[in-house]
């Protein structure tokens, strides 16, 4: 006598769970242009690598004879799997069962997924599609009571940010706790058209007198622009592809180091055009992305958060195979000056690099903080001060390349100057506490006021000061360590990556990541 009968029942229950919310609900999910949660898991993970945990959890109805009559599976599917051969934990909401709301799921499954990632030191991917929170007011009637809200599992959710890579994918209309789970990650994505995210959806907002559609209230483009999520993609498959890319630069947990990737690009490669990459006319902009993409290993550039804090570019990349965190300036947006958003972006990115032991390369052209009334209203000083604190709190290997401007407090924030200044400057370097163009009025106020022709005097002073702006004058006094031929930059950065690799220290870092 074997246990075959029970195994048959187990298979039967698994088959019932695979029906999700039933054919009608699944058809509705597809009609909305969305994959089902099981399709999502299959497409994200390596082929047939999903080891589901808790597959047969759900709500059952039994007949008087004790036989199973009806079964509605839990609306949270989770387990382990592999991505590019590396073990991960994945957990996804099933919108076809009660709209992905927590009240229909076995809440402890969600916690289990968080805990599994936490204790097994594995990356966690959350596929979020629904509210995932307390659920509907209907539960008042079924439970005949209410409760003081609490953020279930938040100790684990927060601890995971300090220990394992966490990726959030918004794959439907996401609200409440579901939104918070999406944002509380190292990397968050939404899919154009099918994903929206808000605190509360249009019906609740309508009660405040504001009539808005889902897209108007929390469209993916808007969420990326205001920085509540990192990136927007066009399809779920593209989202899964980006998850795989993102994780490829990171260790499975902070207790390991980022692994060296393929080394297919010559570390000594010299791009001739770099010598003319920065225009001689200081007012003229240039394409920073083209520059940084040629400095790093071909094809390794992975930009994060392009739509937010645009004066600052943040990307994961590789140098001779070593993963690095890359910061750069985009002169097209405020000349690369730091806005409040740009500063917040820097802070989060430094925290990401610190948490996962990624050496930083900073390609600098920062004219300072963006100034003016709007900058003050945006609390640029608050966000800028946080970014500075982040810079001085980390002890990461850090290399800065001054390609053009470094002015003022924000310009100075390209390196922790009290540590070894591992720094290079291109001949186009231009720096100081204030740019000459704006600083003359303040410094020569009395002379200019007394002059018969202030404009001519201004021009004369500018001409007088011009030679002192030469980076050679700074290098003479060893105020900048080295001026280099831009074409040698890649070779020197690859050398930096090699020197930095053995300095990386696994473990939980002192300043944990905050979303």
């Amino acid at each position: 006598m074997t246990w075959q009968r029970e195994i048959d029942e187990l298979r039967e229950r698994e088959a019932l769970a695979r029906r999700l919310g039933g054919p009608d609900k699944v058809a509705r999910q597809r009609a909305a242009g969305k994959l089902t949660v099981r399709e999502r898991v299959d497409r994200l993970l390596d082929r047939e690598s999903f080891e589901e945990v808790g597959a047969i959890a759900g709500r059952a109805v039994y007949g008087e004879d004790g036989a199973l009559r009806e079964f509605l599976p839990s609306n949270f599917i989770m387990g382990r799997g592999r991505i590019e051969g590396r073990a991960v934990v994945v957990g996804g909401d099933d919108f076809t069962v009660r709209g992905g709301a927590m009240d229909a799921s076995i809440a402890s499954k969600q916690l289990h997924a968080e805990q599994m990632a936490n204790e097994l030191h594995l990356p966690l991917i959350r596929l979020i599609d629904g509210t995932g929170g307390g659920g509907s007011v209907r539960t008042l009637e079924t439970d005949q009571r209410t409760y003081v809200p609490y953020n279930q599992g938040w100790d684990l959710v927060v601890d995971n940010l300090a220990k394992v890579p966490v990726v959030g994918l918004g794959l439907g209309a996401v609200a409440g706790l579901g939104s918070t789970r999406l944002v509380t990650s190292h990397y968050s994505l939404m899919v154009r058209g099918i994903s929206q995210m808000f605190i509360a959806g249009p019906p609740l907002v309508a009660r405040t007198g504001e009539a808005v559609t889902k897209e108007e209230l929390g469209g993916s483009e808007m969420c990326a622009r205001v920085g509540t999520i990192d990136d927007v993609v066009d399809s779920e498959d593209e989202a899964f592809e980006r998850v795989r890319r993102f994780l490829s630069y990171l260790p499975s947990s902070v207790f390991e180091l980022p692994a060296r990737g393929p080394c297919t690009d010559d570390p000594k490669r010299r791009d001739e055009w770099l010598i003319g990459a920065i225009p001689r006319d200081r007012r003229q902009v240039y394409d920073m992305r083209k520059i940084v993409q040629t400095l790093v290993d071909v094809g390794s550039y992975f930009e994060i958060g392009r739509k937010f804090g645009g004066p600052v570019i943040t990307a994961l990349s590789r140098l001779d195979g070593w993963p690095i965190a890359l910061i750069a300036s985009d002169p097209y947006l405020y000349g690369g000056g730091w806005t409040a958003d740009a500063a917040l972006k820097i802070t989060r990115f430094i925290d990401l690099a610190h948490t996962f032991h990624l050496p930083v390369v900073d390609i600098v052209d920062v004219p300072g903080f963006v100034i003016g009334k709007q900058a003050e209203l945006d609390a640029t000083l608050r966000h800028g001060s946080r970014a500075l604190a982040a810079l001085y709190q980390v002890n990461l290997p850090w290399c800065a390349v001054l390609v053009r401007r470094a002015f003022g407090v924000a310009g100075a924030a390209h390196i922790n100057h009290t540590r070894l200044r591992y720094r290079y400057a291109w001949p186009s370097g231009d720096w100081g506490s204030l740019p000459v163009e704006g600083g003359i009025e303040a410094a020569y106020r009395a002379e200019l006021a007394a002059a018969s022709d202030p404009k001519a005097l201004h021009e004369e002073i500018e001409r007088r000061l011009a030679p002192y702006r030469s980076p050679f004058r700074s290098a003479e006094a060893f105020l900048v360590e080295d001026i280099i031929d831009p074409r040698d930059t890649r070779r020197l950065l690859c050398e930096f990556a090699h020197l930095a690799a053995p300095l990386r220290m696994p473990g939980v870092v002192s300043t944990s990541y905050r979303p």
């Binding site: 007012r283 097209y332 405020y334 003016g372 704006g438």
Partner: protein
């Protein structure tokens, strides 16, 4: 189809390079804005004809403000 182009930066409009009625190519510069002592181009992401320019030379432009509208035949 009309495509409104909004400024991604605040600054002073230095120059309007294409007047209403002019043909415009993808990535062709329509306005120059001075910001943080730089001359920053605002280009059209679509091809077509300039329908209208919403700002004047010498005027301030705010982040998110309508800069110009492109009329294109693309569907």
């Amino acid at each position: 189809m009309q495509t409104p182009i909004h400024s991604e930066i605040a600054g002073i409009v230095l120059e309007i390079k294409l007047a209403p009625g002019s043909a415009v190519a993808i990535d062709e510069v329509v306005l120059m804005v001075e910001c943080m002592k730089m001359y920053i181009p605002i280009a059209s992401p679509v091809a077509g004809r300039i329908h209208s320019v919403a700002v004047a030379e010498g005027a301030l432009i705010e982040e998110g403000q309508l800069a110009f509208v492109v009329e294109s035949s693309a569907s």
